[in-house]
């Protein structure tokens, strides 16, 4: 009897070893502990990366084209008046517990996001749905008053307060992803724990050791499981970039972002440089001017400063990540992007023009110009950029620049309450449409408009663009808006468009998701 046990054990071990030999594992770094895996309340890129693997949206984005593509919804249609969107869902998608994914669960998720008691930071992106804001802001609205309906088990309908051509992007966002109501009601906040969670994506959560690692397994119940190549994703949570780099070089990680200090070495190394990818990211780095604070209330002064920034040298000698100089706000890859450099919108580096603008503003050779405060949040990277640009202002315009830094949240409070003359900020896309940029940031009513940029013409353009459905008309409206903000008014000085700087082992076949949320289900690992 004992022998049988031993034989059985050996047999299991051999099978196990054989099986393990065939398991394709991706060793990934999440960079930090995901603050939450609840799609209704997540706001950060780490959580959204994992949720992308665990939960399907009605729509998704194509990594190469940024176009909205079907995911849970096979197709969708918009009513004549542009107000009603109907999404037709697949009927073959199930949760990891075997129950079907239905339109009612989309409705539940949308209403849960909007429920004031949920405290969802991103609920405001859904305010465009009729009745949503009244419910979310506790202004007499109710859950029943929110115009999202399940017409049947696999059809969901949204009615909006105004036409919005970009709505299919919103419908795919994490705040709208169908969620397992019964599980959430049973476990409350603990529903995302590995032992409770029920998901419907290409991967399922196997193990979550907080601050240490997370293991995702290919989900056997995923509707398209045959196309998924990688069996498990082992996610580390390494915050220190140099440690992640060392682990990558030691072969413990399959992909990492090299720290700035290592960039010259990476580029010079024959092996590492072959593994390096620099791809466009969907973020813009900019310096805002407080349009209400003298002397920056004068557009000529703002134009002078915008013309005194040597973007290309900043990129070549300080940033070293092949970023692209920016003269307009919306970055490439976003619908509504206008190539300011090619079309002559905005202000390239031009010391002579900068001096002339300042002279026209009444400060020839910087005479009589008050000391300028340039503020950024405390960080080595921002500090290097501020030193470079501040020096550029001083050399070109002969003005005195006082560079100040503040801890992040103190800085945000300062920008909100008494924004300095020049402040640094960045913006990354939530969905690939200019509405997420010019309207959500620089509308005169926006809370992120620290520049106090206030142009009724600009507001009219971007609000019209939000309602318009013809892409050609919208693009033209955004061109006019960018020209107004970044050229005529020089309300801000865009500096550069970000890039993704990444090292990936040659045996990993991958895509890059500029919007965040890598599509691991499309990747593969070659024998190595």
């Amino acid at each position: 009897m004992k022998k049988i046990w031993v034989l059985g054990l050996i047999f299991t071990l051999v099978i196990g070893v054989l099986a393990v030999g065939q398991v394709k594992t991706l060793y990934w770094n999440l960079n930090t502990e995901p603050p939450s895996l609840d799609p209704n309340i997540s706001t950060d890129t780490t959580s959204i990366q994992v949720e992308q693997a665990l939960f399907l949206g009605l729509t998704d984005f194509d990594d190469a084209t940024m176009a909205v593509v079907p995911e849970l919804a096979t197709h969708w249609e918009n009513s004549e008046d542009g107000l009603t969107w109907t999404f037709y869902m697949r009927d073959d998608v199930v949760w990891t517990d075997g129950t079907p994914v239905t339109a009612q669960q989309v409705v539940y998720s949308v209403k849960r996001t909007l429920d004031p008691a949920t405290g969802s930071s991103y609920a405001f992106v859904l305010w465009i749905i009729e009745g949503a804001q009244a419910y979310n802001n506790d202004e007499g609205g109710t859950a029943d008053g929110v115009a999202v309906k399940a017409l049947d088990d696999y059809t969901v309908e949204f009615t909006l307060i105004q036409p919005a051509g970009y709505f299919p992007s919103i419908a795919g966002m994490w705040v709208c992803r169908p969620l397992p109501q019964t599980v959430i009601e049973e476990y409350g906040d603990a529903w995302t724990n590995a032992e409770n969670i029920v998901t419907n994506g290409a991967y399922e959560l196997g193990e979550w050791v907080h601050e240490d690692h997370m293991i995702l397994y290919k989900s056997a119940t995923y509707y398209d499981v045959a196309k998924v190549n990688i069996d498990q994703i082992y996610c580390y949570m390494i915050e220190e970039a140099s440690t992640a780099m060392t682990m990558y070089e030691a072969g413990n990680l399959d992909s990492t972002s090299p720290p700035l200090e290592d960039m010259d070495r990476v580029k010079a190394d024959p092996v590492l440089s072959a593994e390096l990818t620099i791809a466009p990211d969907l973020c813009t780095y900019y310096y805002g001017f407080n349009n209400e604070k003298p002397p920056f209330d004068n557009p000529l002064v703002r134009k002078a400063f915008a013309s005194a920034i040597d973007r290309q040298n900043l990129i070549d000698y300080v940033l070293k990540g092949e970023q692209k100089p920016a003269q307009t706000f919306v970055c490439p890859g976003i619908f509504g992007h206008v190539d300011g450099v090619a079309e002559g919108i905005g202000y390239p580096y031009n010391p002579e023009a900068a001096k002339q603008f300042l002279a026209d503003a009444g400060y020839p050779n910087g005479e009589g110009f008050p000391e300028v405060t340039l503020m950024h949040n405390t960080s080595e990277g921002h500090s290097k950029i501020a030193q470079f640009i501040g020096q550029s202002f001083m050399d070109t315009l002969n003005v005195k620049v006082n560079i100040v830094n503040q801890e992040w949240k103190v800085y945000l409070a300062t920008c909100r309450e008494d924004c300095p003359q020049i402040y640094r900020m960045g913006w990354c896309a939530d969905y690939p449409d200019a509405n997420n940029w010019v309207n959500e940031v620089f509308n005169s009513k926006s809370g992120s408009n620290y520049a106090n940029y206030n142009s009724p013409d600009f507001d009219a353009l971007i609000e019209q663009a939000a309602r318009e459905s013809d892409p050609a008309v919208r693009l033209d409206l955004y061109r006019q808006a960018e020209t107004l903000m970044c050229d005529t008014d020089a309300g801000i000085a865009p500096i550069y468009f970000y890039t993704i700087v990444n090292l990936t082992k040659p045996y990993v076949v991958r895509t890059f998701a500029p919007l965040g949320g890598e599509h691991w289900e499309q990747w593969d690992i070659l024998p190595h």
Binding site: S36, T246, M247
Partner: protein, 305 residues
């Protein structure tokens, strides 16, 4: 002694009240709140969040509610890690830090004190200079340099240890050395100085005159008394190690509590700031109590009244 311990434990109450109220006032007086972000949220959303975490209550009520929870070991939710409570965070992260702290303290004590003793016995010899040079080095190389250096030598080049992360006993070695060396150096120098002072006492001469063997003179009579100042710094040092080091944990990607001491302030994660501060305060108070008790064991002249 029992009475002494009880009295010391009762002293914890006013200490916790003072520490908690100062921390509470300080953290609410710094500008910025937990929901400030690069993408500024509409006021209505911030109102919802403030209501959810009761941050719209008057400050005194928030404080009273917090302390009422604290007394029942309910440390509240984390605002930044929304699916976890502060109890979860402490329960999952603190044991890791504790283990690392114990290992580091072990290294500091088992290497530091003998190093100091040998240096003192062989004063002004090559051994003395050598070990004091080592401890000077340990004190002066900061953790943020020592960690990567050890990783480079022992993980990347020699491949004896893993680069980083946590899980098996072998993962503890490099971070424990990194964290422990500075304390080891401190203990070594303290022990040496203290030994050299005690050795000049008259009772040591008496012991020698009575013909006690030199080794016993050193270990029984000198070291025992020389350990009193060492113990005084060992208590708070142990409390420090048990509550984590942000830098060492970050370099070695260790899932400890250390980072929460720093990130909770950056995140304005009020319940986590309170909990980590109070845990540290309790650790210091408790260790100082142990130090005071140990004085009596090391030096019979000290009584607890």
């Amino acid at each position: 002694m029992f009475e002494f311990v009880v009295r010391r434990i009762l002293w914890v109450i006013p200490i916790i009240l003072v520490v908690s109220s100062i921390t509470f006032l300080l953290m609410h007086s710094i500008p910025g709140g937990p929901f400030d972000a690069e993408k500024a949220l509409p006021q209505a959303i911030i109102d919802n969040l403030n209501a959810k975490y009761h941050l719209d209550d008057p400050l005194w009520k928030q404080y009273v509610d917090y302390m009422w929870g604290f007394m029942r070991f309910d440390l509240g939710p984390s605002i930044a890690y929304r699916s976890r409570t502060v109890n979860d965070i402490l329960a999952q992260q603190w044991p890791v830090t504790g283990l690392l702290g114990l290992a580091s303290f072990g290294i500091a004590v088992f290497f530091g004190i003998p190093l100091g003793v040998i240096s003192a016995i062989k004063q002004n010899s090559l051994i003395d200079y050598g070990s004091m040079w080592i401890s000077m080095l340990g004190l002066s190389i900061p953790n943020m340099a020592m960690g990567p250096l050890l990783i480079w030598i022992f993980a990347l080049k020699l491949k004896w240890f893993p680069v980083a992360t946590w899980g098996t006993p072998i993962h503890i070695v490099l971070p424990a050395i990194t964290l422990g060396t500075a304390y080891m150096a401190m203990f070594a120098r303290m022990t040496r100085a203290s030994m050299l002072q005690v050795v000049r006492e008259e009772y040591i001469q008496t012991a020698r005159a009575k013909g006690v063997r030199e080794i016993w003179v050193m270990l029984k009579h000198t070291l025992r008394n020389a350990l009193i100042p060492v113990t005084t710094i060992a208590g708070p040092a142990f409390a420090g190690m048990m509550t984590g080091s942000m830098i060492v944990e970050r370099i070695f990607a260790i899932p400890g509590i250390g980072k929460y001491y720093v990130t909770s302030v950056g995140n304005r994660d009020y319940p986590v700031i309170m909990a980590t501060t109070l845990v540290f305060a309790l650790a210091v108070v408790f260790m100082n109590m142990l130090v005071d008790i140990s004085y009596g064991i090391l030096d019979p002249r000290i009584r607890y009244n």
